[in-house]
């Protein structure tokens, strides 16, 4: 290891129940470098960086900062060494202002807090680094990109020289990503060291100086960005050859299954989340909805599934008006839904696989004998799901909380698919899954499509859109502002639509 390295992590291991998250990892970062930590989901990147940031303690190994060995017992210790981590899910207090969030936990010399003075201090600092932010706004009034900048400022305020960012671009539009990269480059120029945790190859190539690849908890390789390309990195990330190409395009039978007309759905806080949506999904096709989270996708999906009442417009299923039907009636009509909240909504935490397998069908006669639940029948059904969908679990009495992300999703999807839907709706079906699990999910979705099921997906990764969808619809501010066959779409076009550009309608 080079003594010019500002960070050295040697022989780090970390065990969590059921998984060896980091196995004997040795890793180093140079001063003023933008270093990408690359790997698929579950490779151990977040764990490793959480150790560096003081959140977890390593089971073995040593960390050296600036050549000195250090031991962190809490994030505070890491902050003391100038290391700050910005998580995918921001650690901001929604009810507090920007200024309050930034000065939180500091200023022990001045017990007294003057809100106006705090805001002025923050504004000055923001100006120094070229950030555009209003310190008196509450965090819950800010956009995602702005909140991320608050997190960065928070770290800079504490004198952080080393900044770790965990999947920073997941929640950003393409334009916001460009803005963020600009900020990072400016900071690196001023001598800050930045580590970016990511699974996105193209972004690594764009922003990083060096890259280290992790796979299954171990370091697979690392190099300067000049010496690698996307193919080399891919091969390092996964074991088997992954065909990163567009999968088989299906031929739609043309029959319209779902038709949304002028659909209006209210959100939780009284505003209109879905304003005027017109969309069709045909049998045997996959329609992918692209868009930044929070533009009405969740409310739209809930409205289709029967979990939220539209305030205007109609939902037609194979010509029949189902707008006023409830969840069970829609299930009967063949609408199945996989929510984005897998273990809070789609599956019941703390209940076992068997109980969860009948969540949407326990009230039908299928599992009832003599008026009571027949656990033998339920058990057989659950075993069937595990077998058919390749779910890895010790037995059906296993609580679902302990399943991995991929197995959870397979269980959810499998349960919904086994009800033989006419329309399948899924929100973020591959979010957080590693490549193998994602592949399994793609396969399931494509098989469903080929059976003639109409499929509507809400997706966040443009790669997934190109991989899966036959047609793309972009959702912005509660409306669909562009629909096109996937062949006509490209990143720039979709990116612009995601930001609100208007487009000529086409179906």
């Amino acid at each position: 290891m080079n003594s010019e390295q500002i960070i050295e992590m040697n022989n780090i291991s970390k065990y969590f129940p059921g998984v060896m998250a980091n196995q004997d990892i040795s890793f180093g970062v140079g001063r003023g470098e933008i270093h990408a930590l690359l790997g698929e989901n579950g490779a151990g990147k977040s764990t490793l960086m959480s150790i560096l940031a003081g959140l977890y303690r390593p089971d073995t190994g040593i960390i050296k900062i600036d050549g000195q060995p250090v031991k962190f017992n809490s994030p505070r210790d890491a902050l003391g060494c100038g290391i700050g981590m910005i998580y995918q899910h921001f650690r901001l207090v929604d009810n507090f202002t920007v200024a309050q969030n930034i000065i939180l936990g500091t200023a022990s010399e001045h017990i007294h807090l003057n809100p106006a003075r705090a805001e002025k201090t923050v504004a000055e600092m923001a100006g120094r680094y070229g950030f555009d932010i209003n310190p008196s706004l509450r965090v819950n009034q800010l956009s995602i990109g702005e909140r991320q900048r608050v997190e960065i400022l928070k770290m800079l305020y504490r004198g952080c020289n080393i900044l770790i960012m965990d999947e920073p671009t997941t929640v950003l539009t393409p334009q916001e990503v460009k803005d963020l990269f600009g900020v990072l480059r400016r900071m690196a120029e001023q001598g800050k060291t930045i580590i970016v945790i990511t699974h996105k190859l193209n972004e690594v190539m764009e922003i990083a100086d060096r890259v280290t690849v992790l796979r299954k908890g171990q370091v697979v390789g690392g190099d300067s960005i000049k010496n690698v390309d996307e193919n080399i990195l891919t091969r390092m990330m996964v074991e088997h050859e992954v065909v990163y190409q567009r999968l088989e395009r299906g031929g739609s039978t043309g029959q319209t299954v779902l038709k949304l007309s002028h659909l209006q759905v209210p959100g939780d806080q009284g505003y209109m989340a879905v304003r005027d949506v017109n969309l069709t999904v045909n049998a045997g096709e996959i329609v992918g909805i692209a868009g930044v989270a929070g533009n009405g996708q969740r409310e739209l999906v809930e409205a289709i599934a029967g979990l939220r009442n539209p305030s205007g417009g109609t939902i037609l299923l194979e010509g029949e008006d189902i707008t006023r039907l409830n969840v069970r009636q829609r299930l009967k009509h063949g609408i199945n839904m996989v929510p984005e909240d897998r273990i809070g909504m789609g599956l019941v935490p703390n209940l076992n696989i068997m109980d969860n397998s009948i969540l949407r069908s326990y009230y039908t006669g299928e599992f009832i004998s003599r008026g009571l639940l027949d656990y033998k029948k339920i058990g057989r059904y659950a075993e069937g799901l595990i077998k058919d969908f390749n779910i890895f679990a010790p037995n059906i009495n296993h609580p679902v909380n302990f399943l991995s992300g991929g197995n959870l999703q397979k269980l959810l999807l499998g349960r919904e698919i086994s009800q033989k839907p006419r329309l399948l709706v899924a929100s973020y079906p591959v979010r957080g899954l590693d490549i193998a699990a994602s592949e399994a999910v793609y396969k399931l979705l494509l098989e469903e499509r080929d059976k003639g099921t109409a499929i509507l997906l809400v997706l966040e990764d443009l790669d997934d859109i190109f991989r899966l969808a036959d047609r793309v619809a972009v959702m912005y501010d509660g409306r669909i502002n562009g629909v096109m066959p996937v062949e006509e779409a490209d990143t720039d076009k979709i990116g612009a639509l995601m930001l609100g550009a208007q487009e000529m309608r086409g179906h």
Binding site: V327, D341, G344, G346, V348, L359, L372, P399
Partner: protein
């Protein structure tokens, strides 16, 4: 260097549950013992006396059962609500209202014969308890108003209401000013077992416990409760009407607690009087928790706590305040809570290497 770390268990361990429960009881007695000793009493003698008072003779046993019955009923009622994470602290008030309604039926329809009167009193007791729980239930279901506070406030209102009646309009003119109603007609008495005071309420409690067990495990509604108790979002997704279930559960919970009141006036006191319950509604919460919200556990723990109450009454003659019982109950509960971490996590030896 070896360290012990607590690692989450996959399933709550039954063995650990029993061990923790037993140790909690033991530790509680130790704490009580300290207070007793500091006050100049012999802890050991006191406990022996309590034990004998509760189990030392067939009469003692019957008295223990007598005290256990309302605890079983109220405990079952409370446990139902707790399974849905509805904190019904109002069992005491629901019990009082059940006692009041059943007494009303007994006093004004006393000329009816037992086969008619008793079921009427049961119905009245259940209904009154259910209605008393309805207000907090609706407030919680529709406006998410904290049910802990509302059920609790209504306890005080119910107790004062009964006091108003027994000091006033319903007071027995022959009672020399004591706050109680006239004796009920014999048709209002629950049948008893032999020469003891153990009444048919025991059978009622056991039947309800059995029904609970079957319904919770094997019925569709029991499944809905399991789901809704864990996640309201998942319940919505499953098409379960959460609001309806919150109200239904609270109604039944209150109703069963109301039954506890009914059996007290019909089986034991045969009249409505001040202080009809020495805090059964609150003790029932501990019984439910210690019984792990399971019908079988609740029945068993109720007997244990019935013994505690009987023992506690007994040692008052030795100058020991009845409050010792409350102390022991409270202590058992918080040792149990402290021990719960061992039921959810198991100790694991982890080797930490320092280089």
């Amino acid at each position: 260097m070896l360290k012990i770390r607590l690692v989450k268990r996959e399933n709550e361990s039954l063995a650990a549950g029993i061990v923790v429960a037993a140790v909690s009881v033991l530790l509680a007695f130790v704490v009580g013992g300290i207070f007793l000793t500091l006050s100049g009493f012999s802890a050991l003698d006191t406990y022996i006396q309590m034990f004998e008072g509760a189990f030392g003779s067939s009469y003692a046993l019957s008295e223990t059962l007598v005290k256990a019955i309302p605890l079983m009923l109220a405990g079952l009622g409370v446990s139902l609500a707790f399974r849905m994470k509805l904190w019904n602290i109002g069992a005491e008030g629901q019990l009082y209202m059940g006692a009041f309604a059943a007494s009303g039926v007994a006093l004004f329809l006393g000329q009816l014969s037992a086969p008619v009167l008793i079921p009427l009193m049961l119905a009245a007791g259940f209904a009154a308890g259910a209605v008393w729980a309805l207000i907090p239930a609706a407030l919680r279901a529709y406006w998410q108003i904290n049910e802990t506070i509302t059920t609790l406030m209504l306890n005080y209102v119910a107790i004062i209401w009964v006091d108003y009646l027994v000091y006033g309009p319903w007071k027995d003119p022959n009672s020399l000013g004591f706050p109680l109603t006239p004796r009920f007609a014999s048709g209002a008495y629950l049948p008893v077992l032999g020469e003891t005071r153990v009444h048919a309420g025991l059978i009622l409690a056991i039947i309800i416990a059995l029904i609970f067990y079957v319904v919770l495990k094997y019925s569709r509604w029991g499944y809905e409760l399991r789901v809704a108790g864990e996640s309201q979002e998942a319940a919505r997704y499953a098409g379960i009407n959460v609001i309806k279930n919150i109200i239904l559960v609270m109604l039944i919970s209150g109703g069963i607690a109301g039954l506890a009141g009914m059996i007290e006036v019909s089986g034991i006191t045969h009249r409505l009087q001040h202080g009809i319950s020495p805090g059964y509604g609150y003790t029932a919460i501990i019984v439910a928790w210690l019984g792990r919200l399971h019908p079988v556990g609740i029945v068993l723990v109720a007997v244990l706590f019935g013994a505690l109450l009987v023992g506690g009454f007994g040692v008052q003659t030795a100058g020991i305040p009845f409050s010792i019982v409350l102390m022991l109950q409270g202590a058992v509960l918080f040792f149990l809570l402290a021990g719960e971490i061992f039921m959810q996590r198991r100790p694991v030896l982890v080797r930490k290497e320092d280089k």
